[in-house]
């Protein structure tokens, strides 16, 4: 096994920095006044400390190095000259640390952005492949589904059918209705690929779409012993979208919230305008929708998969695993972003940001 120096430094930045400073100090002391380049060697531990531990760590190391070099040279030249020398070194070290820290932050941010973009691309690619497949399968399923449900209907309506037959026909019918809903969901999801961004969307009032979704689900919420509270924090927010799409996003999130609270609770829906870095990293103004529940929360191991199609933790019949992937698809198509924060046993908060028109 080979241990590379940067790896060691990255793992133990402080011990490495101290060892290097001491090493350079002893070289500094041993070399005497004639050899001045040794002072430059302090830049190496300075760089390590700054890169791996930030600007303050770099400045602390710079101060230590300047103090040591002042003490060493103070033995041989006048105190005045030694202090002046030390201050000069400190100035140079400080500028170096400052530049390097700025560079490090920049590199870190860029790497973070790239990671985000790569993740999004990978997700989009997966969705695209799935979309094509879904559309094909859905189309082929229409006729057989229809034949099954039609035959079941005929059995059910036939006065000659025994009661048991009629009862079982009802079951068959109910199940075909369920399959139809799943396939329809899947198709909605698949078709998102095609009309994304290509059509110019009308500017709509965000609050109107949000309150429509809230109204639509009020009865469902009541039935499950939950309430939906709408908080409107901004006078008017226009976003470019189809109203149904925004309604779908909001109702999917509210429905998830309701389902996450089997023992009742509140879902809070809030709209506001806010400044936030966009997908390109530059800050811009968003129409933000926050949907927060007091439910069971999302397990950490599930979190990376919540936007994947067909991923669901709900009971059979409760969810198809497509709600959040459709939501994700709509939001990204609209140039927006969706974030989630969750705490087990406390609740989940989804934040959807749509660019203002």
């Amino acid at each position: 096994m080979t241990l590379r120096v940067p790896t060691v430094v990255a793992c133990y930045p402080w011990p490495a920095t101290v060892v290097l400073v001491l090493l350079v100090a002893s070289l500094d002391y041993a070399s005497g006044l004639e050899i001045t380049f040794v002072e430059l060697m302090y830049l190496v531990p300075l760089a390590f400390a700054t890169w791996f531990r930030g600007r303050s760590a770099g400045l602390a190391t710079a101060a230590a190095a300047a103090a040591i070099t002042t003490a060493i040279t103070g033995d041989e030249i006048s105190t005045h000259a030694a202090v002046l020398n030390g201050l000069g070194a400190l100035g140079i070290y400080a500028v170096f640390v400052w530049l390097l820290a700025a560079l490090q932050v920049h590199v870190e941010r860029e790497a973070e952005r790239l990671r985000g973009v790569t993740d999004q691309l990978r997700h989009a690619e997966r969705l695209n492949v799935l979309g094509v497949l879904a559309a094909g399968v859905a189309h082929e399923l229409g006729t057989p589904l229809n034949v099954i449900s039609g035959a079941a209907e005929m059995l059910e309506e036939d006065p000659g059918s025994p009661a048991r037959t009629r009862e079982l026909s009802r079951t068959v019918l109910n199940q075909t209705t369920r399959i139809t809903a799943i396939v329809q969901n899947l198709l909605d999801f698949a078709r998102r690929g095609g009309n994304a961004l290509t059509k110019v969307k009308p500017a709509i009032e965000l609050q109107v779409a949000v309150s429509t979704a809230v109204d639509l689900l009020a009865a469902t919420a009541r039935k499950r012993g939950t309430t939906i509270e709408l908080v409107e924090g901004a006078p008017s927010l226009a976003v470019r979208a189809n109203r149904q799409e925004v309604e779908q996003v909001v109702s999917n999130l509210i429905l998830n919230g309701i389902q996450a609270m089997p023992h009742g609770g509140h879902v809070t829906v809030e709209t506001r305008s806010e400044q936030h870095p966009g997908r390109d990293g530059r800050p811009r103004t968003f129409g933000t929708i926050v949907v927060e529940d007091q439910g069971r929360g999302i397990a950490e191991s599930d979190l990376p998969h919540i936007f994947d199609p067909f991923f669901t933790t709900k009971d059979v019949g409760e969810g198809t695993g497509l709600g959040l992937s459709v939501t994700y698809g709509i939001v990204t198509d609209l140039g927006g972003m969706i974030d989630v924060a969750t705490e087990i046993g406390r609740g989940t908060r989804f934040v959807v940001r749509l660019p203002l028109a």
């Binding site: 006729t143 589904l145 034949v147 005929m154 396939v183």
Partner: protein
């Protein structure tokens, strides 16, 4: 109307045709089943009176697309009551059905909806 109304059922699936026929047989005892676009085309061309027809047709069929056939035929012969049955139609299909003046009935449909769609298609021409 000049005679008995004939029901034309165009779908490549025999079970589907049987279902449509059984559902509509009380109102339309005279039914003809065609199995693809070509079959539909020739049947319609032989039939010169659209007023005496009710057509229930699938879109995706072998040979010709149901919508293409009906589009071409209506241009020549005038309008007939048409119900287009197709699985999970997209916006493009919806638009074409609209232009055709037909009634769209997405598969899977209930028998009651099929009866209602046929009535709606006839009402459009009334």
């Amino acid at each position: 109307m000049t005679g008995v109304v004939q029901l034309v059922i165009a779908d490549d699936d025999p079970d589907m045709r049987a279902l449509v026929r059984a559902t509509l047989s009380p109102e339309y005892p005279h039914a003809v089943e065609v199995v693809d676009g070509r079959d539909l085309f020739w049947h319609l061309v032989r039939q010169h009176t659209p007023q005496d027809l009710v057509i229930v047709a699938d879109v995706k069929m072998p040979a010709y697309d149901g919508l293409d056939v009906l589009d071409a035929w209506q241009e020549e012969h005038g309008e007939a009551p048409i119900v287009i049955i197709t699985a999970f139609p997209d916006d493009a299909v919806r638009e074409r059905v609209e232009r055709l003046g037909a009634t769209l009935l997405p598969k899977p449909f209930s028998r009651a909806n099929l009866r209602a769609a046929v009535k709606a298609a006839q009402a459009k021409l009334a």
